[in-house]
Amino acid sequence: MRFTLALKNILKSKGRSLTTLLLSLFTTTLFIVYVAFMDGSHHQIIKSSVEIYTGYAHVNLKGYRDESDYGNLIEDASSIDEILRNDTSIKTYAPRFETYALLSGDEKSVGSMIVGIIPSKEEKLSKLASSLSKGEYLNDNDTNAIYIGIKLAERLKITIGSQIAMVGSSIDYSIAADIFTVKGIFKTGLFDFDAQSAFVNKSYLDSVILSDNKATYFTVDFQNNDHINKVTSALQAKLPSQYEAVGWDSLLSSLVQAMLVDSIFGYISISIFFLVIFFVVMIFSYVNIYTRTREIGLLRALGLTSKDIFIILFIEILLLATVAVSIGAIIGGVIAHHYELQPIVIDGIAEMYKDYGLVSDEVPMHFDLFTITWNALTIFILNLLAIVYPALKINKLTATEAMRYV
């Protein structure tokens, strides 16, 4: 009976129901889109930082994080290679060999990081190839070609075609030295990275520093990088015990914390939005209920208890909120999904955030069912809560008072 009455109330007063419906729908959509946008821009920043060079996860010898020297190398890279090749959760991966050496041009010498990479694989794993600013990127057959950061090139006062000498140490600590020709210059926008790194074909570097079948670490890109802890621990289980798989959140922990701080501010703002939305929903509920005072008075006069009235009102909002929030969530989800695939382009944002390593003007939204679900549920609960006060308030009136209410 109470249910039919509630349903009839909704259907009969279409205007009123529609307002409530639209309000909840609008707020749900707004909220979902806002969160998707916030998460999206964080993902974008992280993605940029991760994808410039670091990668989503590393596989390295335990201890390498603390002491990144020749004492902690992956000695048998092909065995790790095989494990990674057979792991279906991994999209691409590649070994790297990072070492520090002295690079010297005609006038100046600078200590720098030299990395042996497999150029074709690295093209898919990092932004190295696309950050090309002058000359050419490396290829797998290159020998003593070097690909260096733009600031490093400035510091060494060299350009494309210049020769630079590298003096470092081989992994047996004998002196490794060679002459490289600058093939390409890159610019990622990360100052330190551009000022201190140079890349050469790994197969050639291996011959110079005797690092054949050795790597400092493997960088890994999973099919799905969203739940990095889960996939890295799954990978960890497949690795021999002396190795470890480390996710980007540990590799770039200060960035993660920075995003967390930003999120906290974001959520403070969101909680203010919530507050306003809650009040607006409450006000509308209140007004809705109060315009029905006489009708409610009549129901009371006819013998319904205040509890009955409360339940009727509750069923009404429950039905309306369910419909509104579901539709809102679907619309919000569709928008988030759409803008995830076709990101919003804000011209100049990459330039602005280049120090943070943002390399794209695209700001995608982030579509995540879990986030959308909890967002929608929050608005739903907010809707239910918003009716409590008005319903209690109106139930304080006696039937006759209610009927006489103007």
Partner: protein, 243 residues
């Protein structure tokens, strides 16, 4: 009583002087006007062991020339140190490279010595206050505290000395919290011409992550008494004497 006090004071200054004298003698013995030698350096680390053979020429404290003889890959690489500056020549790339200050404290050839160790004229006499801790017959233990202005990283150095031969036996290096950082031990003291020196020297770092490391230097030939041509201590020498 007054006399006793005077005596005590006197003996203290005497001690200081004595310590100073020991160090002076030590340094004089270890560094002649000229020195030529060949040596083997055995570096032990987590990754195993490796041997480097070196030929070296030096004049006084601040000029030295080093050439690598072994392993084959590094043969012919030469180093020149003049005062505080250091150059390196690598035959493979036919280049002379000045080692910049930022590389100075890196490990030298994978050993536990740093480039800085090779370069710095760490004169015990000039940089440290010396104090005699104990003396028993021919053996003395000295404590070296760096002078306030001295650019040294150590908090103190304790040296065990064979006084008769004016040769060190053991040097223990402390950081400025007086925690042991590394130990240098000397053995096989031999007389070569006018100098009596330890032919084996072993360095052991004590930092937790370097537990397995050690570097052993063994002199094979040593000569303090032959004049060395000044041409060794020029930048031209790097390439010229590389072969």
């Amino acid at each position: 009583m007054k006399y006793l006090f005077f005596l005590l004071l006197f003996s203290l200054t005497l001690d200081a002087n004595e310590a100073q004298n020991i160090i002076k003698k030590l340094e004089k013995n270890l560094r002649g006007d000229y020195m030529y030698g060949t040596m083997k350096m055995i570096v032990t680390s987590k990754r195993g062991q490796r041997t480097v053979k070196i030929e070296s020429w030096s004049k006084g404290n601040d000029k030295s020339f080093i050439k690598i003889l072994y392993p084959k890959k590094d043969k012919g690489i030469t180093f020149l140190k003049l005062d505080t500056q250091m150059w390196q020549y690598i035959p493979k790339i036919e280049r002379t490279i000045k080692i910049p200050s930022s590389m100075m404290l890196q490990s030298w050839m994978g050993s536990d010595f740093t480039n800085d160790d090779m370069v710095k004229e760490s004169s015990f006499e000039e940089d440290y206050h010396t104090k005699l801790l104990s003396k028993r017959g021919n053996f003395a233990t000295l404590e070296l505290i760096p002078k306030e202005d001295a650019a040294v990283v150590w908090g103190k150095i304790i040296i065990d000395v064979d006084i008769k031969n004016a040769a060190p036996l053991k040097e223990t290096f402390y950081d400025d919290r007086m925690k042991k950082v590394r130990i240098l031990t000397f053995s096989k003291i031999e007389k070569h011409g006018s100098h009596t020196i330890p032919m084996i020297m072993e360095l052991k770092p004590l930092d937790a992550n370097k537990k397995k490391n050690s570097t052993k230097v063994i002199y094979e030939k040593i000569d303090f008494d032959t004049h060395i041509d000044a041409s060794y201590f020029t930048k031209h020498a790097l390439k010229r004497y590389s072969r």
